[in-house]
């Protein structure tokens, strides 16, 4: 039995999979409430299927790229569960999860997820020698930069708002293909399938090795030296020399 957890973006998803069938799945728009909603959802998903966590011997977690803080919610939870139950844990790229349901189409596919600052995380998937898989590194770039690498018809999946879709149509014209809204979404059932495959015949990795695919380095320039105190208010600093 495999439990799959994904809190990579503002969308979250949890599924339970027995190796053949997705027994239960919940996908919701968590916005920033992943941490509050993840555990109640896990308990609900298990309850729907009448499965105890002790009966789960495999775990899959989405490792991004995505929201750094969001990704760490499910990864930390998965590490804790794996440590508690002894279940094997697999990390699967969130972009791979998005592309996976389109493998049968053999279409050149591009998974996209918003990366902030007007940029997107992206990866390309393509059929070659009868094998459809990821053929690019994980990229973070503007849509224009991403499209500069596209010369042929490409199916876009992932989180694309109207503006992004318009931009892609403008840049690529008829070469830009869009999956139907429901099949563009990320569902933990697919994560579960990929995680199951990943764990077949592979020896256990160290739990601490499962970490987010960061792609981007943290902005170290702006240090955050004052994490708890409220912002300074000079007018409250009675009896003190004024700041220069």
């Amino acid at each position: 039995m495999l439990l799959a957890l994904d809190t990579s973006t503002s969308w979250a998803s949890v599924a339970l999979f027995d190796g053949r069938t997705v027994l239960s799945e919940e996908t919701w728009h968590a916005q920033r409430r992943h941490a509050d909603e993840l555990f109640p959802t896990i308990e609900r998903i298990l309850g729907h299927s009448g499965v105890a966590l002790s009966g789960v011997d495999r775990l899959a977690v989405a490792t991004g790229p995505g929201s750094f803080t969001g990704l760490r919610v499910a990864i930390a939870a998965a590490q804790g569960i794996a440590r508690g139950t002894g279940a094997a844990l697999a990390g699967v790229s969130t972009l791979d999860v998005l592309a996976y349901p389109h493998a049968a189409s053999k279409q050149r596919t591009c998974s996209l997820l918003p990366a902030g600052r007007g940029e997107f995380y992206a990866a390309f998937y393509q059929d070659r020698n009868r094998s459809w898989k990821r053929r690019s590194p994980f990229i973070v770039a503007s849509l224009a930069e991403i499209c500069a690498q596209i010369g042929t018809h490409t199916l876009f999946v992932g989180e694309l708002d109207d503006a992004a879709e318009t931009t892609l149509r403008d840049l690529l014209g008829p070469k830009a293909l869009f999956a139907a809204p429901a099949s563009r979404m990320r569902r933990a059932g697919y994560l579960a399938e990929l995680g199951w495959l990943e764990l077949e015949g592979r020896k256990q990795t160290t739990l601490g090795e499962i970490e987010p695919i960061y792609v981007r380095q943290p902005a170290v320039g702006g240090t955050f030296a004052q994490p708890f105190a409220p912002p300074p208010r000079d007018d409250l600093a009675l009896g003190l020399p004024r700041r220069d």
């Binding site: 509050d36 555990f39 590490q79 804790g80 508690g84 994490p227 600093a237």
Partner: protein, 350 residues
């Protein structure tokens, strides 16, 4: 009752196993070294490090204790206040561990952890010394050492907090005052950087000040009249101006500046703590947080109060898992208020 407890609110990753809120069976803390380079805490870096370090540290704590997870009775983790990304790592790992082991999960307020560090002792189970030294403040704490008497006034001072708290009883806290700008430890860090000393600034300033004259330079007291709140930005600015003036004159007597700064900051902290203790007629004063390890601060407070002063050993003043385990135990024993399980970067005291 044995509690496995996790602390990841700032830049220390800690996991401990504590029995009955007092006896430390294991206490593993990993300080993040990445921040010594930046001279301050980068939240994203801290969260990344926690995720990498946490599971190995949990394993180490169980090894140190010679225990297995099934011998533990509850899982606790800090759920606030703190850096949200950092808190989420420890709290979600802890909730996962608890759910998977069918154990209760106890969310702990980090500040309550600092308070309850004053209840802890080490029992020599892990090859360490028997009893816990109090860093020059009397005999080591042992199982026989009585618990601090309540009510108490608690001063929590570190790089992240400067909070003055009234503890009316177990799980009955009232925030009397806090910093309105920098935390005390930050003021130490910033002045240390200004004087070309290392990070963290507290111990560096204390060392540098040893040979200095605390009355060499008059500096404004870091406080606000009438209230229990603190403000350190004016003092910091005054030190900056002083150092610039001295530099222009050609020489900065580091020891004298450090000693004068230390005197100004410890007097403000000590004065307000003593005043709160007198006003509320408490039976003891407790310290917590990294700056509590500062010896002149402890001496200054002791000089001004008429009740016993309790200070955890330096290792338990800074963030650690054991203090969270102690606070979790008393949360379970004194269920006067709801025990939190959700993470909040701002969290009021119980």
């Amino acid at each position: 009752m044995r509690i496995l407890s996790i602390e990841t609110s700032c830049d220390e990753t800690g996991v401990a196993i504590v029995e009955d809120g007092r006896r430390i069976i294991a206490n593993v803390v990993a300080s993040q070294t990445a921040h010594q380079v930046t001279g301050g805490i980068v939240p994203e870096v801290a969260a990344r490090e926690h995720l990498r370090a946490l599971d190995p540290i949990e394993q180490q704590a169980l090894r140190d204790a010679g225990m297995e997870l099934r011998q533990v009775d509850a899982i606790a983790a800090t759920v606030g206040p703190g850096l949200i990304g950092a808190l989420l790592v420890g709290a979600n790992y802890g909730r996962g561990l608890a759910l998977a082991s069918s154990l209760p999960f106890v969310g702990v307020n980090h500040l309550e952890g600092h308070v309850y560090a004053n209840w802890l002792y080490e029992d020599g189970a892990v090859g360490g010394p028997r009893g816990t030294t109090t860093g020059g403040l009397g005999p080591p704490r042992t199982p026989q050492t009585p618990e601090p008497e309540l009510p108490a006034v608690v001063l929590v001072v570190s790089g992240a907090h400067s909070d003055l708290v009234l503890m009316e009883g177990h799980r009955r806290f009232r925030l009397l005052g806090r910093t309105i700008d920098d935390a005390a430890g930050e003021a130490f860090d910033k002045v240390a950087r200004l004087l070309g000393l290392g990070f963290p600034g507290g111990p560096e300033i204390e060392r540098a000040a040893r040979g200095g004259d605390p009355k060499a330079y008059p500096l404004p007291k870091a406080w606000l009249a009438d209230r229990y709140d603190f403000s350190f930005s004016g003092l910091k600015t005054a030190v900056l101006r002083l150092v610039r003036t001295l530099e222009a004159a050609g020489d900065v007597p580091v020891a004298d500046v450090a000693a004068s700064f230390q005197r100004a900051i410890t007097e403000a902290l000590a004065e307000k703590t003593a005043r709160a203790a007198a006003e509320h007629g408490v039976r003891s004063v407790l310290l917590g947080g990294g700056v509590a390890a500062n010896l002149p601060l402890r001496e200054e407070i002791r000089r001004r109060i008429a009740v016993p002063l309790h200070v955890p050993p330096p290792r338990l003043c800074t963030d650690n898992g054991a203090m969270i385990g102690a606070a979790a135990f008393f949360s379970l024993r004194h269920r006067t208020t709801e025990i939190p399980s959700l993470v909040r970067s701002n969290m009021p005291l119980a």
